[in-house]
């Protein structure tokens, strides 16, 4: 199965959509947590700065440099910054070399970024406030926001990897989830192809999951049951008509026969009666063939299956049909191995081979040839009948297996078009396979003489 096949499945698309949605939600959630946490951390920093400002504001001007130096010493974690600057910008006490010019001196907290000239490591981000004291002195108090930056970094990384992982896992599950439905769709597709090739008894596979595919398969199977029932009903009606018409036709023929017997040998009327009898005979033969098909299809003959030598049956059929080939000036040859045994009904298999040979001879012009071969194929014994006659085009092949169908190019050939239907019925009864092979020009049919379905 190709990747594009997976990516087109409903399961895959749904999974991908959900994982994208999930990834989006994760990003939103983490973003919200980050935003809330950062705000809280900032608020605490600002509060600490205000407390510090209030504390230092209460200290007298003379005491301030010592108090600042003490505060710097006390701050072991180095998270506070202090600076007492004179009016000319000179640092009197504290741990910040220069007063950052962008910081307004209004007692409010601002986020400040200091560059490498000011402090190491740079760039350095901090929250700071500045106070104007007497005589143009300025007091600066700052708090490190390194923690906040690091927290932000962690969050960003978490968002990136989390999002990526979610999408990857989503893709993986998408593939996994679409594998089973895709495989089942494939199975259903194969079953449909098989049914379309004429195996109307076949049904779509139904799993025990009772999912939407099963619901669909069950519905289609019910539809197939109905189609099969209708088909058999139609066939049944056809068989009944054939059956019912046979008796009056036989009686009609009996009367005609008596008439024929009473007529003078050379009279003109006798010729006409002969013709009518021939027509009635051909009608009766059609009905017999139709009923023969339904008799074969009734499956009752399976009980009489025996182990048979394939070679014997084919030889017998070839010998039976050989004078006909000679009459048509067709070279009939047979080759093959002996000792291949099959389970079956010898009479029916003989009939099938005779019918196939009869067709091959009928549809091959005088001077042509018909080759029969019995061989052991990869999966079992095979009978191959090849002629160099008019052949059957690719798109006619399915149609010729239908009842009464005759190739458009074969209207001059006598026959009822039921021969192949009888062959197909016999093959189906035996659960054998039938295949048109390549022969150019001509027709090549191959009978696969082994059970096509497991019992």
């Amino acid at each position: 199965m190709k990747v594009t096949e997976f990516s087109r499945t409903v399961a895959f698309r749904l999974t991908l959509f959900y994982s994208l949605l999930f990834a989006f939600c994760v990003v939103m959630l983490l973003g919200f947590v980050y935003w809330q946490t950062a705000a809280e951390m900032t608020r605490r920093v600002d509060q600490a700065l205000f407390l510090e400002k209030n504390r230092l504001a209460a200290v007298s001007a003379g005491q301030l440099p010592q108090e600042i130096a003490k505060s710097v010493r006390r701050d072991r974690r180095h998270i506070y910054y202090y600076g007492l600057f004179s009016a000319d910008g000179h640092l009197i006490a504290g741990n910040i070399p220069d007063f950052p010019e962008e910081l307004p001196v209004d007692g409010k907290v601002y986020a400040i970024t200091l560059d490498a000239n000011d402090i190491q490591p740079a760039p350095f981000r901090a929250r700071m406030l500045a106070l104007r004291l007497d005589y143009g002195y300025r007091l600066l108090i700052g708090h490190d926001v390194q923690q906040l930056t690091e927290f932000g970094e962690i969050m960003r990384r978490a968002l990136l990897w989390g999002g990526l992982l979610t999408i990857l896992i989503g893709l993986a599950f998408g593939f996994a989830f679409s594998f089973r439905p895709l495989r089942r769709v494939k199975q259903i597709q194969q079953a449909c192809e098989f049914i379309m090739r004429g195996n109307i008894r076949e049904r779509l596979p139904v799993s025990n999951q009772r999912d939407e595919l099963d619901t669909l398969a069950v519905t289609v199977n019910r539809m197939l049951d109905e189609i099969e029932r209708l088909m058999s009903e139609i066939k049944h009606v056809g068989d009944n008509i054939a059956h019912d018409l046979r008796t009056p036709l036989t009686r009609l023929r009996a009367v005609l026969y008596r008439l024929q017997q009473q007529m003078a040998e050379d009279s003109a009327q006798r010729g006409m009666v002969d013709q009518v009898i021939a027509e009635v005979d051909s009608l009766l033969q059609r009905f017999r063939a139709l009923l023969r098909i339904s008799e074969i299809e009734s499956n009752q003959r399976r009980a009489g299956f025996k182990e048979l030598q394939l070679q014997d049956i084919v030889t017998q059929a070839v010998n039976f049909i050989e004078p006909l080939a000679e009459d048509h000036s067709i070279a009939l040859s047979m080759s093959g191995v002996s000792g291949l045994s099959v389970e079956g009904d010898s009479e029916l298999l003989f009939e099938a081979v005779v019918n196939l040979l009869d067709n091959a001879i009928k549809f091959t012009p005088a001077g042509g040839k018909v080759d029969v071969r019995v061989s052991q194929g990869a999966q079992g014994p095979e009978i191959e009948i090849a002629d160099n006659g008019i052949g059957i085009s690719e798109n006619e092949r399915a149609a010729v297996l239908n009842r009464f169908y005759r190739s458009g190019s074969a209207h001059h050939v006598s026959g009822f078009g039921l021969g192949l239907s009888i062959v197909m019925a016999i093959i189906e009864l035996h659960d054998f396979g039938f295949e048109f092979g390549n022969a150019n020009p001509g027709t090549r049919v191959i009978l696969h003489c082994w059970r096509q379905h497991a019992v």
């Binding site: 009686r251 026969y257 039976f320």
Partner: protein, 226 residues
Amino acid sequence: MARILAIEDDETTAREIMDELGSHGFDVEWASDGRAGLERALNGKYDLITLDRMLPSMDGLTVVSELRAQHVDTPVLMISALSDVDERIDGLRAGGDDYLVKPFASEEMAARVEVLLRRRARSERQTTLRVADLELDLMQRRATRAGVVLDLMPTEFRLLEYMMRNYGQTVTRNMLFESVWGYHFDPGTNIIDVHIGRLRRKVDTPGLPPLIHTVRGSGYMLSESY
């Protein structure tokens, strides 16, 4: 004149059998159900019985097995609407001598009746069959016509044997197919005719009076005069 008993419940079919066999010069009596038929078959002296497979009061299979149980060996032609192989086998196993599927062509039925009557009259143990100057040595599988050995294929030999055993009788294509090939389906095409044609070319060589004749509308007959 041979006497024939037709055990048949369908009046039209019975009428057909009586007409056809009557026109062949047989004396035909009709029994319309199984029990009455058995009664008459056991008491009357008949040369042949046509017996429907499905009859009211007692079915055909029972009738024929009852007859055989009572050591009545009158030839029985079973007639049935059931064309199944199993049905045929059952019919023959119960004691029927031949089996004909309904609906049948009346001359087919008559031909089979005549062959059955004939079979009774002749000895099966002959080793040489002879019709005019045609001779068939069954032991050596050798055929001669006017002293000349005929080069026959095994199938042709069997065809000729069947026709010679029933010389002077009409044999239908179905009968030939059944007895020579042993199968019971309708071979459909004119293959039997082709086989006969081939045999005819070997047997009836130019200059000799023909022995194999075509019986219009029904089959073939081997005889000196036709």
